[in-house]
């Protein structure tokens, strides 16, 4: 049950971020394709090394603790992602708003 709730929550956030950042993603990928490959390789490296290591670390903890810590981690990660996204979007909006072409 907890897993399903977490998954839904993650899907919603990732969907929203993808929708909002779609034009910026397209811009970066078209202008800097090598940078995109580098970032994807780096993300794959992190997924390869850190995720199984963190899984092993969490498997040592008691079961209820695992759930509680992951719940807290999900809250922190989501809150920071949302706050950074809002901050960045507002900055970009301010820059675009102040551009003289309007």
């Amino acid at each position: 049950m907890a897993k399903a709730i977490f998954k839904v929550f993650f899907n919603i956030i990732i969907m929203l971020v993808n929708i909002v950042l779609a034009p910026i993603n397209a811009l970066v990928e078209n202008l800097f394709p090598d940078f995109s490959n580098l970032v994807n390789t780096f993300i794959g490296f992190l997924n390869q090394f850190f995720t199984p290591t963190l899984n092993w670390f969490f498997s040592i903890l008691p079961p209820n603790c695992q759930t509680l810590i992951l719940l807290w981690l999900v809250f922190l990660v989501s809150f920071i992602t949302i706050s950074i996204s809002v901050h960045a979007i507002m900055k970009v909006y301010t820059i675009i708003k102040n551009m003289k072409i309007w």
Partner: protein, 399 residues
């Protein structure tokens, strides 16, 4: 609003930093444990009688051995074991008063090479155990062996090897209590080596019984890939996927051209709820969104293993031309502490976490109230200054 978010962010960053520091500390401890071969601190407990996976038949004899007890070389006796599912040839050492420094130099017919995992299985048998039908296997004398001991306890093992060529190893053991006979304990010893070698030292478990009986049964090997090999294969796979995607795009364009000439007759309703797909996370397509949602993706993979059982984890990587293996053993603390104490530890840990989270929210609330005071004083001061300025203008007569 932004200042408020930034103030909160600094506190949360500290919490996340502490968490990541603990994770990196755990990783470094595991690395040190692996290199120093301190697996003996984990040890094994006395095992109860359990069913063997089965005696091996038609065993190749890849190992000759030289056995040392208290520094003295002991000649093996060669025999055939009957029991379990059949009979098989082996070589054995019948020893007496085996002490802790007893060890075997196994001389192999094949060469151990780096890049492979080797799995040895061997048995220690103690107790009233009869060996019959002696046969020759190519070395040593042929002797029928009967022995019996009083102490039939199956053994505890703390460490397996002091061979400096061994990079890392894991062990497992099981035992079988033969009705009317003795105990045999099978050890499986999986290891990798740093250099080519045709011999291997390993220690025999400490025993206080008067006799010991050691048999070797074959070995297997599996290869493993280094991280560089994995990266190369991943890059090849990525290139193939890119080719497939390009072909797919061309196919889609052609289909769109064809669809443009067809009449629209789609009357199906969307009854599925694909937005809430819980089977897999939605992948981020863009670079910027991938970077931004990276913690969420990693958290999602952690959630996948929520409540899973403890399994050992090996991380292979190559660095500076050498291959290394980080071996994270399975640490099942519940067996070590007992289920009652483990539940108490769980409760205390959760209480500690709940307390810390609660205190964090208290500090957030205090931050909010202090910000309110700040803004109130700012507004009051600015309005007060304006009011004072107006009064001064009113008092000063204009010329």
């Amino acid at each position: 609003m932004i200042k408020f978010i930034e103030k909160i962010f600094s506190g949360l960053a500290y919490q996340i930093g502490k968490f990541l520091f603990f994770v990196l500390l755990a990783i470094s401890i595991c690395y040190i444990v692996d290199k120093e071969q301190l697996f003996d601190i984990l040890g094994f407990t006395n095992v109860d009688a359990a069913t063997f996976p089965g005696w091996l038949r038609d065993v190749k004899m890849p190992v000759q051995g030289i056995y040392y007890e208290n520094g003295n070389q002991i000649q093996p006796s060669v025999s055939t074991i009957t029991g379990g599912e059949g009979s098989y040839n082996t070589f054995s050492y019948l020893t007496s008063n085996v002490k802790k420094e007893a060890r075997v130099l196994a001389i192999l017919t094949d060469t151990l090479r780096p890049g492979f995992y080797y799995s040895f299985s061997f048995y220690f048998c103690r107790g009233n155990y009869t060996v019959t039908n002696p046969t020759t296997t190519g070395f040593g004398a042929t002797n029928g062996v009967n022995f019996s001991v009083n102490n039939a306890n199956v053994y505890t093992v703390n460490r397996y090897t002091i061979d400096s060529n061994v990079l890392s190893y894991t062990t497992s053991n099981s035992s079988n209590n033969f009705a009317g006979g003795g105990y045999c304990q099978m050890f499986n010893y999986t290891f990798s080596v740093e250099n080519n070698s045709t011999s291997l030292w390993f220690d025999i478990p400490e025993t206080t019984t008067s006799s010991n009986f050691l048999n070797f049964y074959g070995y297997t090997s599996n290869s493993y890939l280094t991280y560089d090999d994995l990266l190369q294969s991943q890059n090849q796979t990525n290139e193939k996927l890119e080719d497939i995607n390009e072909n797919q795009q061309e196919t889609n364009e052609k289909l769109n051209e064809i669809n443009g000439t067809l009449t629209d007759s789609d009357t199906s309703e969307n009854t599925g709820n694909d937005f809430f797909d819980t089977s897999s996370i939605v992948s981020s397509d863009g670079v910027v969104s991938s970077l931004l949602t990276l913690p969420i993706q990693m958290s999602s993979k952690l959630v996948d293993n929520l409540g899973g059982t403890c399994t050992p984890y090996r991380m292979n990587f190559g660095m500076l031309g050498k291959n290394y293996t980080l071996n994270f053993p399975c640490i099942d603390l519940e067996n070590y502490f007992g289920s009652d104490l483990w539940d108490i530890i769980d409760l205390l840990f959760c209480g500690f976490m709940a307390y810390n989270i609660g205190m964090l929210f208290v500090s957030i609330y205090e931050s909010i109230t202090s910000l309110q005071d700040y803004y109130y004083s700012y507004i009051y001061q600015s309005s007060h200054e304006e009011h004072t300025r107006e009064n001064r203008r009113a008092r000063t007569p204009s010329e």
